[in-house]
Symmetry: C2
Subunit: 220 residues, 2 copies
């Protein structure tokens, strides 16, 4: 590999990790805003999304530039295509943080509603999966990435539990229907966060081992 290509790939990795840090922070803030009924924090997340979008376009342009300039092969080509895909997932994670922040904003203006235990478990589980997926990327750790794919089932199970719990709340307390719907929406967004973390983990496995493992006994 030429020294120039090495420099460009290091730069690309750094850009991607900065974007990852940015969406992780947005997700943490959105969840905190929901739990603490902090409309101000929720607004910060919503306003901050333009920056995530800017970074995504920058990274994609960088990937394409490196591809066109160096025409890399083998491991380097796999690294860049993994960056392209992870970049896409991170931007979607940013959208998910905004969706949760919007729910937090709405709920901060209503009488309080109890946040179900399973939803809190999901918040912890799905954000941990994202962290682990980004760590696996940095460390090129396919074994760690494989463990993340397994965790996705736990989050899916929690989502089902939240959905059914909220159904009961709505049936027993019609005045809580709108708020309960918002919590179901948060739960669905966390389920999608876990899916994106799993996508990233799969891209890491592909990057390290050159094998596409998607759709093997996982998610529909």
């Amino acid at each position: 590999m030429t020294k120039h290509l090495r420099t460009d790939l290091t730069r690309l990795e750094k850009l991607l990790l900065n974007e990852g840090g940015c969406v992780e922070e947005a997700m943490r803030k959105a969840i905190y805003a929901l739990q603490q009924r902090r409309a101000d924090l929720a607004r910060l997340v919503i306003d901050g999304d333009a920056e995530v979008d800017r970074r995504e376009v920058e990274i994609e342009e960088e990937c394409l530039k490196v591809l066109a300039l160096h025409q890399p092969v083998a491991t380097d080509l796999r690294f860049i295509t993994a960056c392209l895909k992870i970049n896409n997932d991170l931007e979607r994670v940013g959208d998910i943080a905004v969706n949760i922040a919007e729910r937090a904003l709405f709920l901060a203006g209503c009488p309080p509603i109890r946040i179900p235990r399973d939803l809190i478990t999901m918040m912890e589980g799905a954000t941990r999966m994202l962290r682990e997926a980004l760590d696996a990327f940095v460390n090129e750790d396919a074994a760690a990435a494989r463990r993340i794919c397994v965790e996705d089932d736990d989050v899916d199970n929690c989502h089902r539990a939240v959905f059914h719990g909220m159904l009961l709340v709505m049936q027993e307390h019609p005045d809580e229907i709108e708020r309960a719907m918002q919590l179901v929406s948060v739960s669905r967004n966390l389920e999608r966060l876990a899916d994106h973390a799993t996508n990233i983990a799969e891209d890491v496995i592909y990057m390290v081992e050159g094998e596409i493992i998607r759709h093997r006994a996982r998610r529909k």
Copy 2:
């Protein structure tokens, strides 16, 4: 461009369009299953998803092979990166068809519930957007692609209307809560279908014009 590269790109385009036809058909069947309460059709869609997944992996491997083998630049590079991204969106559209089919399966086993007018409008609008996006890809028609990005707002507005309509139904008829939740879920899935169609349209614009237009006054 070498004759060999031309053959490979034509083959890639054909694979992608076949996958597109496959997910369009799945989406049509899922919607029909929902409207006509056809559990058998819904099951067909669910069982058919493995084939969509297989196609996605095949296309991605093909894209990477062409990249590694020919190290294409400029227009050809943009074509392949667009294929990589559209492939990803089409696979997600396949997942959306499965989600809608699962809702259809559930609802086919319950007493009938009226499907709101706005939801039917969304079904028509979102599937039309997907068709138009694939047409814009085949015809390399950036102007048509730009029109699709505008249509996304109509679908978003319909989703909001469905959400609020269903809230009222749930408040007035607690026994319909679970079914109404399923329709909200269908509506959210159709909103995401329109987002994916928009992504594809944006990729077409990038492919044709070399410009990334994402996040310009569109979607959060």
